[in-house]
Symmetry: C2
Subunit: 354 residues, 2 copies
C-alpha cells in the first residue's frame, strides 16, 4: 500500500495537522483496512503533546478504529474484502508468552505493540494509528464488528468499551452485585452500560449534580454525589465492585470505604501514584482489595463486541470532521463531550481530494 | 468466678504490673478457662502504652491464650472440664450479620468484641485478656487445642497463626504457587511455615542477611534481601501471592513489582497509610491487586489448629516468666525474639501464692 494521507503531530508544540505516511503492503497474515471512523481517546492527547515523554514524532494517534477490509494476505482466513472490522489499542504482541497464549495480549510479557507510537516487531518502524485513511494489521489483532451496531458509535468500544468490560467480566460482575462506577466520561458511561447489562445494580459516583439525569439515562439505578459527605457516608460498606475510571490523581479512600467486605476497587484510569495515600487499615479491616485492569485481550474484545450487539450497546458519540481535531482536543480537556468524539474519516479523504 | 490475679497496665506511663480483676461467673453458654500460656503480640504493647489512643485502663493484654477448661455453663455442649482450649483475638460478635453467619466473626458488621479492651455485649464491662489466671468466654469463641501440639508453642497460633493462615487459604494458595512472605517476625515465620505446608514455593523477603539460614530452617526455598536492588529486580513479575507482615509504613511498590500478572499483595500487618504512595500504573498494567486480611473467623481458626496438628506446625517461642514482661516488651521493640514470647502462667500463680 502506498503513501497515504493521515493527521498527526510533528512535535510536542505543533497542532494535529495533515501529513503523509507509508503503510506497508500486506504481509501474508495481514488485513488491509480502509478506516471509516476513529474515536478519540484522551491518551491521544497525551501522545500528541508528549505528556509522558515517550512520543516519537511524527505521531499519528487513534486506537478506536472501525473500517472496511480492502485486501488480505494469503494466510488470512477470517476476513475478506468488504468486511466491517475494528482495531483497538494493540496491533501485535510476542504471541508466545503465557499471557498471549491465554489471549491476554495486553499483558504480553514482552510488551504489546501499541497501535500508534509502537515499534513494529518485524521492521522496527514506528506504528501509526487511526487518524488516517487506512491501516494494515495482522489478522490476530483485527476484530469483527457486528453489522448490527452503528459503525461510528461502535468505534470507541475498541478502547473505552473493552477497558470497562474486561474488568467487570474478569472480576465476575453479575446479577445481584452492587456495582458503582466513578466518573462518567468516555470510560465511565460505558462502565454504567456494561454493569447494567450484566445484571448488576448500578450506582454512579460523580462530582457533578448535572450528571444525575444523564446517569439514569445510561442505565444507572442510583447517583451519589462524591463531594457530599453525607451521601458518601450513606453508602459505606455497600458495593461489591467499584470501577474507578478517573484518570487523574484523586482520593481512593472514600471509595474503599464504600466497598463491602471482600469488595474490589478496580482502577482503569489512574496510572499515577495514589495520593492522598491509601489507608491500609481500611483494606485490612474488611478484607478489601484495590485492583487494576488494562484494556483487554483480543478474544475478550471480540466477546465484548458480540455482547454489545446482543444488548444494543454502543458509545454515545459526537461526530467530528477531522479538520476540527484541535478544537475537539480543547473541548475534551474541558470534559465538554458526551462522551466520545469520533472522526468521520471521509472528511479526511474529502480533504485529501479537495 | 471471683476476683483473680492478672497483669496489666494502669496508665499509659505505667509498666505492666500485678493487679486484681473480676471474672464473671459462667453464663449458660460460657466456658471458664484456667490460663496456662499466653503469647505476647505486638498489639499488646500498643494497647498497654495507648499508642492508638483508645486504651481503657486498667488494661490486661493478651489474646493468644491456651488453657484448661475448669467449668462450663449449662448450655455448653462442645467442652468439658479438663479440655485443652484456646482463645484468640475475639470473644464475641453480633452473631447475626452476614459475616457472623458465614463464620467470619472478625468482620462482624457491628464490630467484634476484642478479647481485651473490648466492651462486653451483655453488661458493657471492659474485657480483660490473657495475662491472667483465668478467663470466661462464650463457647462459640473457644477453640479446641489439639493435644498433639505443644500447648505453649501453639498459643501464638491464635493470633500470629490465624492471621497468616486465613489469607493464604482465602486467596487459594496451593501447590505450584509462588508465594513470598515479607518480614520474618511472629507473623512472618508462621506465613513461611503455612505457605510451605500448603505446597507453595516459598520465598522470604527480608532486609537482614542474618535471617537467611533461619528462613530455610522455617521452610523457605529462597531468600531475597529486599534492600538489594539487583535481587529485587531478579524477582520482578514472579509471585502469585506476597504476604506482607510488616506492621510499619514501608514501600509497597517493590513488592507490587515482584507480583506476577494477576498476583495479589496481601497486607496483614500494615494498618497505616501507604507511604511512599502506591504506584497505580503498576497495579493497572499487570492487573495486580493489593488486598488486606484481618485475623480469621472461628471456624477457620479451628481449621488452622487442626491443620497445624496434621502438619506438626507450632510457633517458635521463647518462654517467659510473667515477672519479666516489661523486659520482654523492650526486647520485642528491638525485634529481639525468635519469634514469639509466651508467658508461662504458672509463674503468675506462683507469684500470687508467694
Amino acid at each position: 500500500m502506498p503513501t497515504i494521507q493521515a493527521y498527526g503531530a510533528q512535535s510536542e508544540t505543533s497542532a494535529i495537522e495533515p501529513l503523509s505516511i507509508d503503510r506497508r503492503a500486506p504481509r501474508p497474515d495481514d488485513v488491509a483496512i480502509r478506516i471509516d471512523y476513529c474515536g478519540i481517546c484522551h491518551t491521544d492527547i497525551h501522545f500528541a503533546r508528549n505528556d509522558w515523554g515517550r512520543t516519537v514524532y511524527p505521531v499519528v494517534p487513534g486506537h478506536e478504529i472501525v473500517g472496511t477490509v480492502t485486501a488480505v494476505g494469503g494466510e488470512v482466513t477470517g476476513f475478506k474484502p468488504g468486511d466491517r472490522v475494528g482495531v483497538g489499542c494493540l496491533v501485535d504482541s510476542c504471541r508466545e508468552c503465557s499471557a498471549c497464549e491465554e489471549g491476554l495480549e495486553q499483558y504480553c510479557d514482552a510488551g504489546f505493540t501499541a497501535t500508534y507510537n509502537g515499534e513494529d516487531r518485524h521492521d522496527g518502524s514506528v506504528t501509526f494509528g487511526g487518524y488516517s485513511e487506512a491501516i494494515v494489521v495482522s489478522e490476530r489483532f483485527v476484530l469483527r464488528m457486528p453489522e448490527k451496531l452503528d459503525a461510528a458509535a461502535s468505534a470507541p468500544l475498541l478502547c473505552a468499551g473493552i477497558t470497562t468490560y474486561s474488568p467487570l467480566k474478569h472480576f465476575g460482575v453479575g446479577p445481584g452485585d452492587r456495582v458503582a462506577v466513578v466518573g462518567m466520561g468516555g470510560l465511565g458511561h460505558m462502565g454504567v452500560k456494561f454493569a447494567r447489562a450484566l445484571g448488576a445494580e448500578v450506582t454512579l459516583f460523580t462530582r457533578s449534580e448535572s450528571k444525575r439525569e444523564e446517569a439514569f439515562r445510561q442505565g444507572a439505578h442510583k447517583v451519589v454525589i462524591s463531594t457530599d459527605d453525607d451521601q458518601m457516608d450513606s453508602v459505606a460498606n455497600t458495593f461489591d465492585y467499584i470501577l474507578d475510571t478517573v484518570p487523574v490523581a484523586h482520593d481512593l479512600n472514600p471509595y474503599v470505604n464504600a466497598l463491602k467486605r471482600d469488595g474490589t476497587l478496580i482502577l482503569v484510569g489512574l496510572l499515577e501514584t495514589v495520593e492522598p495515600p491509601l489507608d491500609a487499615g481500611a483494606v485490612v479491616f474488611r478484607r478489601k482489595q484495590v485492583a487494576g485492569s488494562l484494556i483487554g485481550g483480543l478474544p475478550e474484545t471480540q466477546e465484548m463486541l458480540d455482547f454489545c450487539a446482543e444488548h444494543d450497546i454502543v458509545c454515545d458519540i459526537e461526530m467530528l470532521d477531522i479538520g476540527n481535531i484541535n478544537e475537539a482536543y480543547e473541548r475534551m480537556l474541558r470534559s465538554d463531550v458526551r462522551y466520545r468524539f469520533v472522526i468521520d474519516m471521509d472528511t479526511l479523504r474529502a480533504g485529501a481530494n479537495a
